[in-house]
């Protein structure tokens, strides 16, 4: 087990350090890259817990898609760092307040588990032994039965967000030249060219 413990501390340590660097790095692109490092280490922690399915999904969804778009946007921004630093003190109280609330809530969750250990089992469903089913199957078994409404609700939230994004960005530009493949295919020699008889020395 000693190797697992060492691996845990390495992953956890790097994750925390990377998380700190996300807010400490001067360059926003570096921040995003540190965020990706933090995701990676979180995936490593999942693997250590035997949840390799979650680890891979974390990498595919967050690192492979979400962070790419993040990086995409951040790379194109031209940020004035001095201006960014100026507002720091102004926003600090709000930031500190949010941090404090999150900290309190985390303490509440962890505290409840310690005070009343039976609470954790209220929401839990029986976990089949790892030797019998892979953890993709184990998740599938509860996700589409016990949690099917939550699953559907999450799907609806994402659908609404997606339609919202499309509606916000969809504009018809009348002067934009767009390729219309049916129009191109429907063209014939008769509609495409016009043959003119040009007399010598006359021009058109």
């Amino acid at each position: 087990m000693i190797v697992a413990t060492i691996a845990f501390y390495i992953f956890a340590g790097v994750a925390i350090a990377a998380g700190f660097m996300v807010i400490a790095a001067r360059n926003p692109v570096h921040s995003v890259l540190f965020l990706i490092l933090a995701f990676f280490n979180a995936a490593g922690l999942f693997v250590l817990m035997g949840a390799e399915f979650l680890a891979m999904i974390l990498i595919i969804v967050y690192v492979g898609a979400v962070a790419v778009l993040f990086l995409f946007v951040v790379m194109m921004l031209d940020i004035d760092f001095a201006e960014l630093r100026e507002g720091f003190l102004q926003y600090m109280p709000i930031g500190a307040l949010i941090g404090l609330i999150v900290l309190l809530e985390l303490l509440l969750v962890a505290g409840t588990w310690t005070l009343a250990p039976e609470v954790a089992s209220l929401a839990a469903s029986p976990i089949p032994p790892m030797a019998e089913v892979t953890n993709a199957e184990a998740i599938g078994q509860v996700m589409y039965t016990q949690y099917v409404y939550f699953f559907q609700a999450a799907g609806m939230v994402l659908l609404v967000a997606m339609i919202g994004a499309i509606v916000l960005t969809l504009r018809k530009k009348p002067d934009a030249q767009r390729q219309s493949i049916p129009d191109q295919v429907a063209r014939t020699a008769e509609t495409a060219i016009e043959i003119k008889k040009v007399e010598p020395g006359q021009g058109l």
């Binding site: 990706i36 891979m56 898609a65 990086l71 194109m76």
Partner: protein
């Protein structure tokens, strides 16, 4: 101490040995795939291709390797040095590490993961970071344009790749790559492999794989007629070599994925005695070479896409088709009670 050696030391030793074996084999294979790519391209254009270094030019790739290694590495003065040098290393490392879960024969796999399919998908989708970091860190317009195109392109085509993978895994009932190959082992041989029952998905996967690895006709990130060399404009010497290597290893990986998912991996094409006597790894390599030959022919024949056509193909054609295929597959599996 002796216990520590038997529990960790010895397995570690074996894993390192296996990884080195795969690495050396893969790099040699890549060297000859590069040579084959140039020879095929030349044959299509009625040229001779590389034929000077070694007999029939067989050592050309090694001459190129030496050339790249001994050139001067130039770092642009306004580049972001750390990320500029990190980017090619990341590209090459990610492309190579995905091979850990590829089964070359029954049981010939470095890491027999239960989620092998997702692992490959994850690592091939991470390939975009090397290119984006390289393009941004070069601090050049062409590089940056290449990086932006690459990001949009790879994210788009991953979606359809992912959906096709879902329909294959529903039919096989496993995310383990070895199990997916075993599920194709029927008495029908060649016709029991998934290319036949998943034919539309096979075609979409093949095209998306080309787009995902930025091969022509989808090589918009390095379109030399528009962007000089795209994200690789400022790279030279060993960093460029690493980019190049990463790209070709990723192409081989995609050929291996097509082989495993649709062409029955290490299985012989007919259920006939003497064919079973041939080692599975030979079948596997032959199939990978065949798929690569198709990639090379596509590169030689098809002109480069325009960027809006590329996006249209990804989002408006492949995404609905592959999503529809998932629904059809699931429907058939449930309706006829075929789900494993």
């Amino acid at each position: 101490m002796a216990e520590l050696w038997t529990t960790y030391g010895f397995p570690l030793f074996i894993i390192v040995g296996q990884s080195l074996g795969v690495l050396v084999g893969l790099l040699l294979f890549t060297a000859y795939i590069l040579y084959a790519d140039r020879k095929i391209f030349a044959a299509v254009q009625m040229r001779r291709g590389p034929n000077v270094v070694g007999p029939w030019g067989l050592l050309q790739s090694f001459a190129d390797l030496t050339k790249f290694l001994f050139k001067e590495a130039i770092i642009p003065s306004s580049a972001n040095k750390g990320i500029f040098l990190l980017a090619p290393v990341i590209t090459a490392t990610l492309a190579l590490s995905a091979w850990a879960v590829i089964p070359f024969d029954d049981g010939w796999v470095v890491a027999d993961l239960n989620v092998g399919l997702l692992y490959v998908l994850a690592f091939s989708s991470l390939g975009v970071y090397g290119i984006m970091m390289g393009g941004w860190a070069s601090n050049s317009k062409y590089s940056f344009m290449g990086a932006l195109r690459c990001a949009a392109q790879m994210v788009s085509y991953e979606v359809s790749l992912g959906f096709i993978v879902v329909s294959v895994l529903m039919t096989a009932g496993s995310l383990n790559l070895s199990d997916i190959v075993r599920a194709q082992d029927t008495s029908a041989g060649l016709f029991g492999w998934y290319w036949l029952i998943h034919f539309p998905a096979f075609v979409i996967f093949f095209i998306s794989a080309i787009a995902e690895t930025n091969r022509p006709p989808f090589d918009l990130p390095e379109a030399e007629s528009e962007l000089v060399a795209g994200y690789a404009t400022e790279y030279s010497s060993t960093p460029f070599l690493l980019f190049f290597l990463g790209e070709f290893v990723a192409i081989n990986l995609m050929a291996a994925m097509v082989t495993i998912l649709f062409l029955g991996g290490w299985l012989p094409p007919f259920d006939w005695g003497p064919l079973h006597a041939v080692p599975g790894v030979i079948w596997f390599v032959l199939k990978v070479c065949f798929v690569f030959f198709l990639f090379a022919m596509v590169r030689a024949y098809v002109p480069r896409y325009r960027y809006d056509q590329l996006m249209r193909l990804g989002w408006k054609v492949f995404l609905p088709l592959s999503l529809g295929w998932v629904v059809v597959t699931a429907g058939v599996l449930v309706a006829f009670d075929l789900a494993p």
